[in-house]
């Protein structure tokens, strides 16, 4: 029995490579200073989908909502084995909080035939872990969050082990289902040689038009449009065209999107700068270690 998986992925600033310039003075993230990467746990979600495809057959479709530059992670997903990639991009998506984001994504996912929707547990920029669960609610399907192991599927029944903080829990439900996947669930595969060689040329229609514009600076807008249409149809035939959807195409209710659809209010942003005050050396003896542990317990740093 084959299953169709949809994986929702996000391009995020690499918060592991934080430097002095990582924060703007107002406490927001300076995205320009950090390289943009595939959100790590989204790679685990993708790997889980690819593993399901390897074991049972079916398809893997990857969707991201973001700026046109996010096409980079869609190509990465194709390199690793995704069958199709869709970019949801629209200036009116800007400033969406998790509620608006999950609404827009639900509009996109509803257009696809799916059995399993997979998300990373959370993104390393916002760290909310809300979009997955909210999306399941909007799709009206059950959700299993914090999945920490490959899943078992039999017919329409899926069994997953989820991390519940102080242990684990096995949950069984019927498809369709939404899973959020943790970093412990698997080891994501690397990009595959032949897929890279093929999909390195993949682009969205907007990307194609931009490239034609850059290559033909003297052509008129109409000529460029015409060339772009032709090029897109050629690329589509080769499977190299990445779909691009906007809010009109999704028939999204604009009041639910972007700023107007985002009830989250930022109360205050605090820029916390941690600095060491003093140091203490501890002798590498049993007594020294016991003293340190006692002190940490006293200060309730460890329990």
């Amino acid at each position: 029995m084959a299953y169709n998986c949809v994986v929702l992925v996000k391009q995020v600033p690499d918060t592991k490579r934080v430097t002095g310039k990582a924060m703007n003075d107002d406490g927001t993230v300076n995205r320009a200073a950090l390289p943009a990467i595939f959100n790590p746990e989204d790679l685990n979600a993708l790997e889980m989908a690819l593993d399901i495809k390897d074991r049972f057959g079916g398809t893997v479709t990857v969707i991201t909502m973001g700026l046109p530059a996010a096409v980079a992670i869609l190509k990465d997903a194709l390199y690793r084995g995704a069958d199709e990639a869709i970019l949801v991009t629209d200036a009116r998506c800007a400033a969406s909080d998790t509620l608006a984001t999950s609404y827009i994504l639900s509009c996109a996912v509803k257009r696809i035939k799916y059995d399993i929707v997979l998300c990373g547990r959370q993104a390393i920029d916002g760290d909310t872990a809300q979009v997955g669960p909210q999306l399941a609610e909007k799709l009206g399907i059950p959700q299993i969050t914090y999945v920490e192991k490959p899943v078992e599927i039999e017919g329409q029944t899926i069994t997953a082990q989820r991390n519940i903080g102080n242990g684990w829990q096995k949950v069984k439900t019927q498809l369709p289902v939404l899973l959020t996947v943790t970093g412990e669930a698997n080891v994501p595969r690397v990009a595959a040689a032949k897929k890279m060689m093929k999909y390195k040329a993949a682009m969205t229609p907007a990307g194609v038009e931009q490239k034609i514009k850059a290559d033909n600076s003297h052509a008129s807008d109409d000529e460029i449009k015409e060339m772009a249409v032709q090029k897109c149809s050629e690329m589509d035939k080769k499977g190299l065209l990445i779909e691009q959807w906007n809010l009109d195409f999704l028939k999204a209710d604009l009041t639910w999107c972007g700023r107007s659809g985002s009830p989250t209010k930022v109360h205050r942003i605090q820029s916390v700068v941690l600095a060491s005050k003093d140091t203490k050396s501890i002798e590498p003896t049993d007594d020294g270690l016991a003293g340190m542990i006692h002190e940490l317990l006293e200060d309730k740093i460890i329990a």
Binding site: A191, A193, M197, K200
Partner: protein, 600 residues
């Protein structure tokens, strides 16, 4: 962990400096495959981009996943199960799965079998990168020559049967050559191949020391002509793992524990003939072994690189006598000599791989689509012969140079770490154990010298060195080039002397003859790098002073060339004196010098 391609300046430099575009054009036969296959490049730039993307992906896989497993692979080894099956160490099984998913198990196989159709030069780079992460994994990743041999010599039916699965990483193979009484001397192979009354071929006998003998597809060298002794009685067969193939034991080895070394008993195993009878050893196994020798050279380089990096790191942080030990003159020299030796090995291996690629492509062109024009055909034939001779000399040189270098570098890495290096807390002891086999299997160093010295004494080296001397170099290197020219002159006067003394004398002094020839070749290659048009800055960090600096690679390579040539010229002059001494005491005084055989 770092990316083992991206963090290696020297590989990245050579990737840019060597003319990969020209090789791509040859391998892709003027890019004619692009309309037919999604992954085939339409031009040189695209091909080079493909190569780099794949190396980067292998570098990431090696750094992130394969290297962290190497220690547990070494401890765990392979297991022979009660039912006769073999289990790889857990880390090897995981890494093979990673490599299959990365689609890199058909590196040089043609597009039509699902391969990447990459040049051997890029494969050598990949082999080095994977071996740096886990040398024992290379014994499976680096066995792609088995599929290559099927591709080159087997019938279309056999190719279709196996090559797609090889490229997809669904199956692995083994070269089943060695027997208890046929090691270096494969002409002595006894395992029988015979036909039943329906003309089906069957195999019967024992093979020993078979790397990955538990693989699914086995290439078996066997005696198909019972009345003929020697190499011409041998043919090459392909068979599958099955109930008549019994793994009798796994060897308990010094190193490369992740690679299962099997003793196999074939009990009337059904098999198919590869190519023609009687060409098994003389044509097919020779081609297979040449590919494998390049693989071992890559494995050696990877081990050396891994060991050197540990020593380099340790020497900068270990403090004795109030300073980092890398400031001590003796340690300085150890580190520099290790680093330059690795770069010398890499220069030789990559140049060899390039020559092998050109040779293979020319041979393919001659066979499949020879030029109609008579003069062009003649010239192509001449070129093919020239590259064939050159490949036959450079391949054993690379294997010999890199494997001996890996042993020296890993030995010296332990020396830099001192007592800590002798402990199993650091990986240098593993690298030293892993390196030890490289001078032995796929032909010992002594046999590589026998093969290479023929090239040195038959005019091949002379022509090649003359060609190298004709290349355009940076004017600043003139004094070094003069030294190389003088060295070349001395070498060939020694060769003339040796020839007068006869073949035995040539083998007696084979090692210094080949050593000098290799030094001269590497010297020219270093000068070529120091004349590069590639602009690339490399870090030359002195961690003692905690300041990071960069320097153009061209300038750095000029320093490397200067030290290499200046220091080796006097050594080579001394070796020439030795060769021309006429000393034959190894023959005349053997018994007296060696003493009696020890009595228990």
């Amino acid at each position: 962990m770092p990316n083992f391609y991206a963090d290696n300046d020297d590989i990245r430099f050579l990737f840019k400096h060597m003319d990969l575009g020209a090789l791509a054009r040859l391998c892709e036969e003027d890019f004619k495959f692009a309309p037919q296959f999604d992954s085939a490049p339409a031009g040189a730039d695209e091909a080079i981009r493909n190569y780099e993307m794949v190396l980067d992906s292998i570098g990431q896989l090696s750094g992130d996943l394969i290297a962290p497993r190497a220690e547990s692979v070494d401890r765990e080894g392979s297991t022979l199960n009660a039912d006769g099956s073999v289990s790889y160490a857990k880390g090897i099984a995981e890494s093979l799965d990673n490599l299959a998913k990365a689609e890199v198990m058909g590196f040089t196989l043609p597009h039509r079998f699902g391969g990447l159709n990459f040049p051997n030069l890029v494969y050598s780079m990949a082999t080095e990168i994977v071996s740096r992460a886990d040398a024992s994994l290379m014994n499976i990743f680096g066995l792609q020559g088995i599929a290559g041999t099927i591709e080159a010599f087997a019938s279309e039916e056999i190719k279709q049967k196996y090559l797609h699965d090889f490229a997809a990483g669904k199956i692995t193979g083994a070269m089943v050559l060695t027997e208890p009484d046929a090691g270096s001397d494969l002409q002595a192979v006894k395992l029988r191949a015979f036909q039943d009354n329906k003309d089906n071929w069957l195999l019967h006998g024992v093979k020993r020391f078979i790397t990955n003998g538990c693989g699914e597809v086995l290439l078996v060298l066997s005696r198909s002509e019972p009345d003929r002794s020697g190499g011409l009685g041998l043919s090459l067969f392909v068979c599958e793992r099955g109930p008549t193939v019994h793994i009798r034991r796994l060897e308990d080895k010094l190193g490369i524990h992740g690679s299962p070394t099997c003793e196999i008993f074939f009990d009337n195993t059904p098999c198919q003939l590869i190519g023609e009878r009687q060409r098994g050893l003389v044509t097919y196994v020779m081609a297979l072994m040449n590919g494998a020798r390049i693989g071992i050279a890559g494995q050696s380089l990877g081990i050396a690189e891994a060991a050197y990096r540990i020593a380099r790191d340790y020497a900068s942080s270990r403090k004795q006598f109030g300073m980092a030990i890398q400031k001590l003159p003796a340690v300085r020299d150890l580190l520099i000599d290790m680093k330059i030796a690795i770069e010398a090995g890499r220069a030789m291996l990559y140049e060899t791989s390039r020559v092998v690629d050109i040779n293979i492509c020319f041979e393919r062109q001659l066979e499949l689509n020879p030029p109609a024009d008579k003069d062009k055909l003649k010239s192509l034939k001449e070129q093919t012969r020239r590259f064939d001779r050159l490949a036959s000399m450079l391949t054993p040189m690379s294997k010999y140079l890199c494997s001996e270098m890996a042993n020296r570098v890993s030995y010296d890495s332990i020396q830099v770490l001192g007592g800590s290096g002798y402990m199993r807390d650091y990986a240098v002891e593993r690298h030293t154990r892993d390196a030890r086999i490289t001078t032995i299997y796929e032909g010992t160093s002594q046999l590589q010298i026998v093969a290479a010295v023929r090239g040195v004494c038959s005019g091949t080296a002379e022509k090649y060195l003359a060609e190298l001397a004709q290349k355009e170099y940076d004017p600043e290197l003139k004094d070094l080039l003069d030294k190389l020219a003088e060295g070349t002159k001395q070498l060939f006067s020694a060769v003339a002397f040796v020839k007068q003394q006869g073949a035995d004398y040539m083998d007696l002094y084979g090692r210094p003859l080949v050593d000098i020839a290799m030094d001269l070749i590497v010297g020219y290659l270093f000068c070529d790098y120091a004349s590069t048009k590639i602009e690339m800055d490399v870090a030359v960090e002195d961690s003692d002073e905690a300041k990071e600096q960069t320097m153009p690679m061209k300038k750095r390579k000029a320093l490397v060339a200067r030290r290499f040539i200046t220091r080796n010229s006097p050594k080579n002059a001394a070796l020439i004196q030795l060769i021309c001494s006429g000393d034959k005491s190894s023959f005349t005084d053997f018994a007296a010098l060696i003493g009696p055989v020890p009595v228990e």
